[in-house]
């Protein structure tokens, strides 16, 4: 069974484009044009140039020796934390801003949870001199204050999403409503592998540079492209999709996705969608979704704003359903401990999102010869307050 999207935007049973008619022309415009634009040599040239000289790619694949010793495997870190702006999110925004320009759009909107995608969007808009509005839940604005100010310094307008639970889901609703009201001159840069087709596949492709580099770098270091494991955290799932992309159909590589269990999966305060969700429709695609029996979307919880989302991208729902990827979930406490452990063993303070991927190591068993790649999706600078508040270091 091959993991790939069909022409309707489905990965197996998940995906599609469940959008109101008001968004149909925008989505259709994207769907019809994006492949051709993205594959054109001049686009590729600009994209690769910006990834190299602006983002700082390729990011290193780093052998974490002390961590390897602790877990009894050969563990490499894919250093997306070293990307400009501090996380993998910018790979996607660079791609989408170039696409928006080719589509002749003059304005950009985005949603953000932790603020990383908002900052990455504000950054490329500043780079291109394009007007930028970022929707962010009022609750998230309070817990990710430095990122709010970073966006403002970069010249973006940050609009509080005041509806619903005032977090990422609501910021996404507000961005979609804005797009409905401004359909012709505006491009919506979605920050993860979610949303209506073609967004999930498009974002995954922009992020797939991660696994492309891992292959090249492992070949250099180990004489083979394929590790035994690739591990990544999943909010919407863009860093995971990027790290898995070129391994989707390499059966010898075990794919491991890590979700946020918040205070614990059965406490009512979790964001582990594959544990708590059922098939449903949110933000334009059919996917696994945390919801009530009546189909109302349930508020997730995680200490990490970037994982605090009630769904996952449709490709991940498919990877889960088919068993192609194994899903783990880790609690706030486990993630924070793993973050401190990485800080102390390797001198790297990870984003709280990324720390979840490291915490999954405690639930796995390895052979000493196993080659493990962990996608270190972002750095912890934005999370200092969260670390301080947690305090157990």
């Amino acid at each position: 069974m091959k993991i790939q999207v069909d022409e309707r935007g489905y990965y197996g049973n998940f995906g599609g484009a469940f959008i109101p008619e008001m968004l149909y022309p925008n989505i259709e415009e994207l769907r019809e044009n994006y492949e051709q634009i993205v594959q054109a040599p001049d686009f590729q040239k600009q994209f690769n140039h910006l990834l190299r000289d602006f983002v700082g790619r390729p990011t290193p694949l780093y052998l974490a020796e002390r961590l390897s010793e602790k877990y009894g495997a050969e563990i490499y870190l894919k250093r997306e934390d070293l990307c400009h702006t501090g996380a993998h999110k910018v790979n996607n925004t660079v791609g989408q801003i170039l696409l928006a320009q080719k589509l002749g759009k003059q304005k950009i909107i985005a949603e953000t949870g932790a603020g990383q995608h908002g900052v990455a969007t504000a950054t490329v808009c500043a780079l291109m001199g394009i007007e930028c509005i970022v929707y962010m839940g009022e609750v998230d604005m309070a817990r990710q204050k430095p990122n709010v100010e970073r966006m403002r310094i970069l010249g973006a307008e940050v609009r509080p999403a005041k509806s619903g639970s005032k977090t990422l889901k609501d910021a996404t609703n507000e961005a979609m409503r804005h797009w409905i009201n401004n359909p012709t001159d505006t491009h919506y840069i979605i920050g993860s592998v979610v949303g209506p087709h073609p967004y999930p596949e498009m974002v995954a492709r922009f992020q797939s540079v991660i696994s492309k580099e891992i292959k090249t770098q492992l070949l250099e270091k180990k004489g083979k492209e394929n590790p035994d494991y690739v591990i990544a955290c999943v909010g919407g799932g863009s860093n995971a999709a990027g790290a898995f992309y070129h391994y989707y159909n390499e059966e010898d590589v075990k794919l491991v996705a890590v979700e946020a269990a918040g205070l614990g999966n059965h406490t009512g305060e979790s964001a582990a969608t594959t544990v708590l969700g059922k098939p449903g429709i949110l933000h334009g695609s059919k996917t696994l979704l945390m919801q009530t029996e009546d189909g109302q979307v349930v508020e997730p919880y995680s200490i990490s704003a970037g994982l605090d989302y009630p769904g996952i991208g449709p490709v991940h729902a498919h990877l889960f359903e088919t068993g192609r990827a194994k899903f783990y979930s880790v609690t706030d406490e486990e993630a924070m401990k793993a973050g401190v452990l990485l800080s102390r063993t390797e001198g790297i303070i990870p984003a709280v999102e990324s720390a979840h991927a490291f915490a999954a190591l405690n639930q796995m068993t390895f052979n000493p010869s196993d080659v493990v790649v962990i996608n270190l999706s972002g750095r912890g600078d934005k999370d200092l307050e969260t670390y301080i508040k947690w305090g157990k270091y």
């Binding site: 309707r8 599609g16 484009a17 469940f18 959008i19 109101p20 008619e21 008001m22 149909y24 022309p25 509806s163 619903g164 889901k169 609703n173 979609m176 409503r177 409905i180 009201n181 401004n182 359909p183 012709t184 059922k278 449903g280 429709i281 949110l282 933000h283 334009g284 979704l289 919801q291 029996e293 009546d294 189909g295 109302q296 979307v297």
Partner: protein, 257 residues
Amino acid sequence: MNRIDKLFQNKKERILNVYFTAGYPQLNDTTTILEALETSGADLIEIGIPYSDPIADGPTIQESNGVALDNGMTLKVLFNQLKGIRDKVSVPIVLMGYVNPIVQYGMENFCAKCEEVGVDAVILPDLPMFEYLEIYKPMFEKHGLYNIFLITPQTSEARIKQIDDNSNGFIYMVSSASTTGAKTSISVDQSDYFARVKNMNLKNPTLIGFGISNAETFDKACENANGAIIGSAFIKAISEEGNLKEKISGFVRSVIG
């Protein structure tokens, strides 16, 4: 014969369709509102099924959805309230909702229930035409239920044609690029759009919605279609202090005179 077809057979202009959110302002207001609307002169009534994430709706309807959910409204509750409604109300009833709660309820069950209580059509703005035609259409047909599609100023003529071919009842013309409740006065752009659609001679009647709020906008819309749909302005009117039935008749009178 579907009540909607009967309506359009007997009345071709100035059709007033009023939207309200089930469970708002109070959980058990549904039948009171339906009866009062019919008595006051509404030709067609649209009942909103509240949803946690109504992305096509502006602040007024969002809020009413939130209140209705807090009040305990669900599809099960709504169908219970609608049991026997056809003894009291004869105008066509349309359910409007987002697709997720309905898929969780079960589409087949949903269609059967609609038939049982006497619902004539549904509007599911986030159900793509493709999915409807491929998967759900036979269930709708089996239960005599119409699926109403939306068109907007951005919808291409080819697509409008396709929608017309696959529609029954009426076509919902969204007045401008917006979510519900936007303040619009009919502009030049919209006039072009209305004229364009008129010239296409669609087989289905059209009703204009989004931004219709009073007699002036209703009249303007009626010059360009068979009638109009009022939602947010009605929700606002019934949110005010006072007797519910009186607010409803007062509002409808203020629109159709």
